[in-house]
């Protein structure tokens, strides 16, 4: 045998896998019929819908806000740059749960919110509790917090693009915003997307924190069910199955997006050459 160590490892893993399959099938504690009963039940699907809506909207706020904050952070204007730095410091430096509670109880601080001229007359004013309901507080908490993390991810991406690109675009007479949109951001995307995929998958599960302000999503729905029927393990399996399904979908989607922004790079996804078995020979450069 040429690789005795490798064969030994394979054998050990095969035995462990067999034991795992065996226990999953034979241990009655898993209660697979209960899992099947609840997988597509109304409350679970309701929670799933909220998880999806919160994830999509929070990530949208996070990505758009993150791009804005990153551009501000890199601005030559010291005021814009510092405002962005303070925002990132504040929102990354305080617990998300505290931020969610803060938005939910904003009315305690400001009972009414108004639009008007600063220090001057007001045009319209709102009751804070009506304007920021539970759902809006969830979005503010999750989205604004995410924007701070996304800002650093986007900044890293923008800084990874060679300065020569900005100079070439500038020399052609393109404006700063045209250069950002058409030249720098599309190239930065290759660096931005993998960690954004991480953030999205993480957000999927972080949405369960909204329970602290009384809102509900997938995990909360499942907890409510097992707190009455005590089928804890089967219901956690229900939640886990849905999370895994969504994560799989996201990973597939991420693959497509990465391929789109990988145009023009002979290397493909970062690192694929480093870890491929037989490196391609003789690409047409130089």
């Amino acid at each position: 045998m040429r690789h005795p160590g490798r064969w030994l490892a394979v054998a050990v893993l095969a035995v462990l896998a067999a034991m795992l399959v065996n226990t999953i099938l034979t241990n009655d504690g898993f209660r697979w019929p209960v899992v099947g009963e609840y997988l597509f039940s109304g409350p679970v699907l309701n929670g799933l819908r909220n998880t999806l809506v919160l994830t999509v909207l929070s990530m949208a706020i996070g990505i758009v806000g993150g791009i804005g904050l990153a551009v501000m952070r890199l601005s030559p204007n010291p005021v814009l740059s510092s405002v962005s730095a303070v925002y990132i410091w504040l929102f990354r430096g305080t617990p998300l749960i505290a931020q969610l509670l803060f938005w939910n109880f904003l009315a305690a601080l400001y009972p009414r919110l108004a639009l008007g001229i600063p220090f001057g007359p007001e045009f319209i004013s709102f009751d804070t509790n009506q304007l920021i309901n539970q759902f809006a507080a969830c979005l503010l908490g999750l989205g604004l917090n995410e924007a701070a993390y996304m800002a650093e991810i986007v900044r890293g991406g923008l800084q990874s693009v060679d300065d020569g690109q900005t100079e070439a675009a500038g020399a052609l007479g393109m404006s700063r915003s045209q250069t950002l949109r058409r030249i720098v951001l599309p190239q930065a995307m290759r660096v931005i997307i993998p960690p954004t995929g991480n953030e999205t998958i993480s957000m999927l599960k972080t949405t369960s924190l909204v329970v602290v302000i009384g809102y509900f999503e997938l995990l909360t729905s499942v907890q409510r069910i097992y707190s009455t029927n005590f089928q804890t393990i089967p219901l956690l399996i229900v939640a886990a199955a849905w999370y895994l399904a969504l994560t799989s979908l996201l990973s597939i989607g991420q693959g497509f997006v990465e391929r789109h922004y990988g145009r023009g790079t002979s290397r493909g996804p970062t690192g694929s050459r480093l870890f491929s078995r037989a490196p391609e020979q003789g690409t047409a450069t130089g």
Binding site: G173, I183, G264
Partner: protein, 254 residues
């Protein structure tokens, strides 16, 4: 009297405490090719980058076709132009970089179309047709849809020249356009530049290619330590340098 295409008057530039340009005077007339040579660190690339305001000058004046670049004069003082006005001035000045700086996520044709499409709002079809004509002109008829990574260095630099020409510039700046190329690829890029000069394009070329400077250049400028040491007809400067620093430099490179 015709307006000079480039008119630099006592141009000064410092990076921090290092003075890179110490009073450059240079006039390039329309249709002329001016070649700038000199040791590295002599400020020649920096000077070139001042012509289209990629670097802001600290003192003096830079005019292109009679228009002050990067600044406007008001009440006897110079005020830096807004970014959009600088962008407008740059449209008429093409630039080719040492390291090509092609947009790697766009094909050769898309690289050439980019500025006409975004800056001039040209319709896609017209921009594409003109891009293809320009790529034909630099000898890349079969590479319209190749990405930069699929092209050789010489081919990339020719795409970069086509990209600069797409904005129909009055002036072309070349920043050591062949310095990053393998020796056997230098010729194809110089051929394109030679053709451009033959058609009457005004060009300022920072280069180490003495043969090109001698053959194509109308003026040769030797720079050292932020000053123009010697300037004149290439034949004279190369064949009979007056200044000892020019002699020392040329004895090393020729």
């Amino acid at each position: 009297m015709t307006t000079p295409m480039v008119e630099a008057v006592q141009v000064h530039k410092s990076f921090g405490r290092v003075e890179v340009l110490r009073g450059i005077d240079l006039t390039v007339m329309p249709g002329e090719v001016a070649c700038v040579i000199g040791p590295s660190g002599s400020g020649k690339s920096t000077f070139l980058r001042c012509i289209n305001h990629l670097e802001r000058i600290d003192a003096g004046a830079m005019r292109v076709d009679g228009e002050l670049i990067g600044y406007r004069e008001a009440g006897g003082r110079l005020h830096e132009l807004r970014e959009s006005e600088v962008a407008r001035q740059r449209r008429d000045i093409g630039m080719v970089f040492q390291r090509f700086n092609l947009f790697p996520h766009k094909t050769a044709a898309e690289n050439v179309m980019e500025a006409p499409r975004t800056v001039r709002r040209e319709p896609r079809r017209a921009a594409r047709e003109r891009a293809m004509a320009l790529l034909d002109r630099v000898g890349l008829s079969d590479k319209y849809d190749s990405y930069p990574a699929q092209l050789s260095g010489g081919q990339q630099q020719r795409v970069a020249i086509a990209r600069a020409l797409a904005m129909q510039p009055r002036l072309m700046l070349f920043d050591e356009p062949t310095s990053a190329l393998d020796p056997e690829l230098v010729g194809e890029v110089l051929d394109v530049m030679r053709g451009l000069a033959g058609e009457g394009m005004t060009m300022v070329v920072v280069t180490h290619e003495m043969g090109f400077a001698r053959e194509v250049g109308d003026t040769l400028v030797f720079m050292d330590e932020g000053r123009i040491v010697e300037a004149g007809q290439p034949r004279d400067v190369l064949g009979n340098p007056q200044h000892e620093r020019t002699q020392a430099f040329l004895s090393k490179v020729l």
